[in-house]
Subunit: 202 residues, 2 copies
């Protein structure tokens, strides 16, 4: 006797859904059954959206953020932005959190990672040539090093500051200290130390 | 100044991912960014799997389980199965849990729901004609009413037993009682009552 099983196309769909992060075997099966019970259009809608994203979405040739293939991203294509202000982030996914805080009016630069010899990521793997080219094109600009505050991020920020020292630009780093709304009891020692170091006059 | 935003194709992908059950705005954005960072093939793999499932997967014309378009499902196409044993379930998704317990060797019948006047589901919305046709084709068969044990399930089971009373078949119902591995402290009153009612000699 053969065990009752899903058709091959259903098993293939379950396997593909399971590849997504945070979706396990059970979750993938539940999603696949949901698609089957919704009728064909639901699966076709997602398939179409995925295909159009794969076909049309590339990287902005200036800053490396997501953009339609061969086009500038919204920020780089906007003449109202302050081109003398360049915020350097690790990944394109770091851009929208900064954008959503609502006060930044400059441009971005996505490195594509941070220097991390243990993971095999060396300076030549990052978008540094494009960064120096952009800094050269805007003498007197400010480069905000908004890479993470972990060990690799700090190393990357120091390396970038060194590389950019010979150009006409100022390098700054995001302030480090207490996160908004957090009590002292929840802060770790390094955060508290940096918050003390960076204390300001009221 | 325009706010930095994802390209339209990315927003479309986020919206399509968000339609899946259990995936919220944040989760959909995280999945979309994951697809963008994996490169084009990951999105195309899932899109292909979804499209093939939408194109190729239909229902078994005998029992209503998932099957390749126009084909019998694995169970209905297997001559080694006991055709005198028919397990009636609400949804195709109820079949594999029974199959996985490993002892059932008969066929299945998916009703497509349970009688629930409040939700507008009446007997004529269920696959009853096909059920009586199958029962007629196998005189002396056993029909296991494996619909849920909630109010609508019980009503559906009683209705089916009545409808099948004039045919040459036996209707049975899944046993009700304590779930395996559960202590008495976790059982609700109705479950305990049914477990007492159905107690067996050791």
């Amino acid at each position: 006797m053969k065990a009752q099983e899903y058709p091959a196309a259903v098993l293939e769909m379950i396997a593909a859904l399971k590849r997504m992060p945070g979706i396990g075997s059970r979750g993938a099966e539940r999603l696949a059954l949901w698609f089957l019970q919704q009728g064909r259009n639901e699966a076709r809608t997602l398939a179409g959206a995925l295909t159009r994203a794969a076909d049309n979405v590339g990287r902005c040739p200036e800053c490396g953020f997501f953009a339609d293939n061969g086009c500038l991203c919204t920020a780089c294509g906007d003449p109202a932005r302050d081109a003398q202000l360049l915020c350097v982030v690790e990944q394109p996914t770091d851009v929208l959190p900064i954008e959503r805080c609502g006060t930044y009016r400059g441009l971005y630069h996505c490195l594509g990672g941070k220097i991390s010899p243990l993971d095999g990521i060396m300076p030549e793997d990052l978008a540094l040539d494009k960064l120096t080219e952009r800094v050269k094109a805007h003498p007197g600009c400010e480069v905000i090093l908004a890479v993470g505050s972990d060990v690799e991020g700090e190393a990357t920020a120091l390396y970038l500051a060194e590389q950019l020292a010979s150009f006409d630009c100022r390098c700054t780093r995001l302030a480090q200290g207490m996160p908004a709304g957090a009590g002292l009891g929840h802060a770790d020692a390094v955060t508290l130390m940096r918050a003390l170091d960076g204390r300001r006059m009221l």
